[in-house]
């Protein structure tokens, strides 16, 4: 038929063919941009993975918890091949964090004299055990996280592209490129590769499977013939995601709601038992049953993941969802502002009180591993609720349905994770990528509905927000959750920092010669608590000298280097013979990397440092600003400077 038409109306056929070629060209252009962005993102993720302590080791057995679990599965066990120490088993209560600290293996569950992993088993079953079986060696956890993050990102990109294709108007190429870059680098996912351990394995695998689930869900909307197949795959992916991070099972809720409500017989029993619903629900139910069986086989309780038996500090041992945890968690996940610093990488995570209400009493079990508020670091996620403001005729558009599914799941996930009282930047990966994707889809939709100058301004506004998200999150990604880059490769970090540090005062220096001193007023009896005398550098490269009141006229000088949570500490005791100003000097010798502390000219302490890394502006006398919390020496102090040469 088409051939006959061609003969009859050659000009129309020619126009159609031209249009087809143009469309193909446009599609290829988008694909080229996609390819370039994917290559850039994969390179950045690989670089971030290698910027910390992680090494890809292929030829020897590794001690990652997922490697151990993979090996356990292959040997027919659920317990990890680690024997608990005899001292630990001999304790009256081996789970008591005050007693077990010297003997425990952190963050494993001890039950029936065996160690178990409380994180989801799906990554071990699907990646680590097969890899070991095929290669005879362990899969490095860092490499697994890198692959899962890139894989999840690719799926999100694909989902974004297929959704954008359904929109009435296409988005400009540059805006599309920004969407992709923001999806990869403008959110907390980029914070994971640098410190890729078993925590990140579970999160990254959950992210990969949940993304696949949403992709399949969308394909089920668009496909009539293979709708059931896509829904089955969607259910399987969501089930596997729950096998990595149980809270990801909430992805099934909006998916089921969409499938039920989009059918011809809404909310009837027949609708609930339709082929589509069964195809979606069955694999999820099977996966959940497998998880319950796995729990029962380990702990004799299908609902026990091992949290009750966790070897951990009191702040996160035996956590359970409670309403009281939600308020502070929401603050940390949504609103907590980072510290903006003139020294590279310019944005840092800060430990703050909820809404700056100093003295706020946290719930009994609340763990804060450091977060940046999602609405501050990636304000685009707010656009995920944008469809509420769209014209009603758009409400049944497949893109809008997708946005609502992503948003509903994210809200459920935030509330559940928040109720656990576990707050960390990596947990934002359980919801932020989907909110951001929903935001990107909405941006595409909104831009398509606008014309003229309004469209230009809105695009400009979106671009600004995306640029901020990318810059802020990349700053955090370079720093990583434990500032490992500067600790593992200070020279490389310095070279990178110099690119972005034109001002001498804010340019980082590696092992600079240093001599600073101050006169501090020490009362007798001394003021209680720990007070900073000097602080240098930030976070992983931080060095602090503090004073601690021991007795009335006895103080201890504490010299501490590195991440405050795992600091290397040296101390010296000082007797105060009277109240008054005392001179304290700090000297760093680059030759031997020794930091020397002097008290009225007398050497009281020599602390060998791995390195000293600081900008001039980060040398502070009398105060400290670790994690954005400013603490100052409570007495008077002066920092004399030479008046005349």
């Amino acid at each position: 038929m088409k051939t006959a038409d061609t003969r009859e109306e050659p000009s129309r056929t020619f126009a159609t063919a031209e249009r087809f070629i143009i469309q193909r060209c446009v599609q290829i252009q988008y694909r080229v941009v996609w390819l370039v962005v994917v290559l850039v993102v994969a390179s950045v993720y690989l670089w971030l993975t290698k910027s910390g302590w992680a090494r890809f080791e292929w030829k020897r057995d590794l001690d990652g918890y997922y490697d151990l679990l993979g090996r356990a599965f292959l040997s027919g066990h659920l317990r990890l091949p680690i024997e608990p120490r005899r001292e630990l088993l001999a304790l009256a209560n081996p789970w008591d964090p005050d007693l077990n600290a010297p003997y425990r293996v952190l963050d494993l569950a001890l039950y029936n004299r065996h160690y178990y992993l409380y994180h989801g088993a799906a990554p071990a079953l699907l990646f680590f055990a097969p890899w070991r079986l095929l290669t005879g060696h362990d899969l490095p956890e860092s490499f697994a996280v890198f692959v899962m993050c890139v894989g999840g990102f690719l799926v999100l990109c694909e989902l974004l592209m297929v959704v954008l294709r359904t929109l009435p108007a296409s988005v400009p190429l540059w805006l599309f490129a920004l969407f992709l870059l923001t999806l990869a680098l403008g959110q907390s996912l980029s914070n994971m590769p640098q410190r890729a351990m078993f925590y990140e394995v579970a999160s990254a695998a959950g992210f990969l499977f949940a993304s696949c689930g949403f992709f399949c869900l969308f394909k089920s909307f668009a496909s009539v013939q293979r709708r059931v197949t896509w829904l089955f795959l969607c259910g399987l992916c969501f089930g596997l995601a729950a096998g990595c991070r149980p809270n990801l099972v909430f992805a099934a809720v909006p998916a089921l709601a969409v499938v039920v409500l989009s059918g011809p017989r809404r909310l009837s029993l027949r609708a609930l038992l339709s082929r589509e619903v069964i195809a979606l629900a069955l694999p999820i139910a099977i996966c959940c049953l497998c998880v319950a069986g796995y729990n029962y086989a380990r702990f004799g309780n299908p609902f026990e993941f091992g949290l009750r038996y966790l070897m951990a500090t009191a702040s996160y041992q035996n956590i359970r969802p409670t309403i009281g945890n939600i308020f502070p968690s929401l603050y940390y996940f949504l609103f907590c502002t980072p510290t903006v610093d003139p020294v590279f990488p310019f944005v840092r995570l800060a430990f703050r009180w909820p809404f700056e209400s100093i003295g706020y009493h946290f719930p009994a079990r609340f763990f804060n591993g450091g977060t940046g508020g999602m609405l501050v670091l990636c304000p685009l996620v707010l656009l995920a609720v944008g469809p509420a403001f769209l014209p009603k005729k758009m409400s049944r558009h497949v893109a809008v349905t997708t946005i609502w599914s992503l948003t509903a799941f994210s809200i459920l996930s935030i509330l559940f994770v928040g109720s656990l009282g576990l707050v960390s930047q990596r947990y934002e990966v359980d919801f932020q990528p989907y909110l951001l994707l929903a935001g990107c889809i909405f941006m595409g939709l909104a831009v398509g509905l606008m014309r003229g100058r309004t469209r230009l301004w809105v695009q400009f506004g979106f671009a600004l927000m995306m640029a901020w998200s990318i810059l802020a999150n990349m700053a955090l990604a370079v720093q990583g959750p434990y500032d490992q880059f500067v600790q593992a490769h200070p020279e490389s970090y310095l070279r990178l920092a110099k690119w972005f540090s034109p001002a001498d005062r804010f340019r980082p220096l590696l092992n600079p010669p240093l001599h600073v001193y101050g006169h501090f007023y020490f009362p007798v009896p001394c003021s209680p608590g720990m007070q900073p005398l000097f602080s240098i550098g930030e976070f992983g490269s931080r060095y602090v000298v503090s004073e601690v009141c021991k007795q009335d006229n006895q103080i201890t000088i504490v010299s501490s280097s590195g991440d405050p949570r795992f600091a290397q500490v040296w101390v010296a005791d000082i007797a105060l013979d009277r109240a008054g100003f005392e001179r304290v000097d700090l000297d760093f010798a680059p030759q031997n990397k020794n930091m020397t502390v002097r008290w009225n000219g007398r050497v009281i302490l020599t602390h060998p440092l791995p390195f000293l890394f600081t900008a001039r502006s980060q040398v502070r006398v009398g105060w400290d600003a670790t994690f954005g919390q400013k603490t100052a020496f409570s007495g008077r102090f002066i920092v004399p400077v030479t008046t005349e040469k």
Partner: protein, 193 residues
Amino acid sequence: MLCFARLIGLHRRSILFLGLLLGAATGCADHMRRPNPQPEIISNEDVAQIQPAVHSHSFTMRNVDATRQLAAGIHDVENNAWRWTAGEFSIVLATPRGASTRGADLVFGFHIPDAILRRTGPVTLTAYLNAAEVGARTYTAAGAQRFSAMIPPELLRQSPLAIDFHLDRYIPRGVLESRELGVVAYTVSLESE
């Protein structure tokens, strides 16, 4: 191939801009690769930029602005004129111009009330600079007094200075009132000739 040409054609400005950006960045990189000299020592001059400045080398006790130069052991201002000190008290003073070559005179103007002297007997006031004694004097009579100590130039090469005063006898807290009482301070200064 046609599509690729079309892509280039449509985005030639963006590609040109990216090229310029890359060129500039490469230039920067070349600059960054140059060997760096050993950085200059980080010293108090770097740190002092973010410390509260002390400008005054002389002040009266009624001057509210001078409060930040009172380090410890000096009570609130009374009658808008004087302040009681404790047995040990400390102040911060800026170094006056020229003091690093000519030295300076530390002058402390105060009053010993009769009621205090009757209880304590003769009082010795000692001044320390950087934990080193710079002067001491014993007072046996009540009334207005002046303490003066010549500080050599080698101790005045930096600014500000922390000066500690020590009274060997004073009224402990709870005897006359809840505060520890030493002398009544009026002025303090560091004067260079």
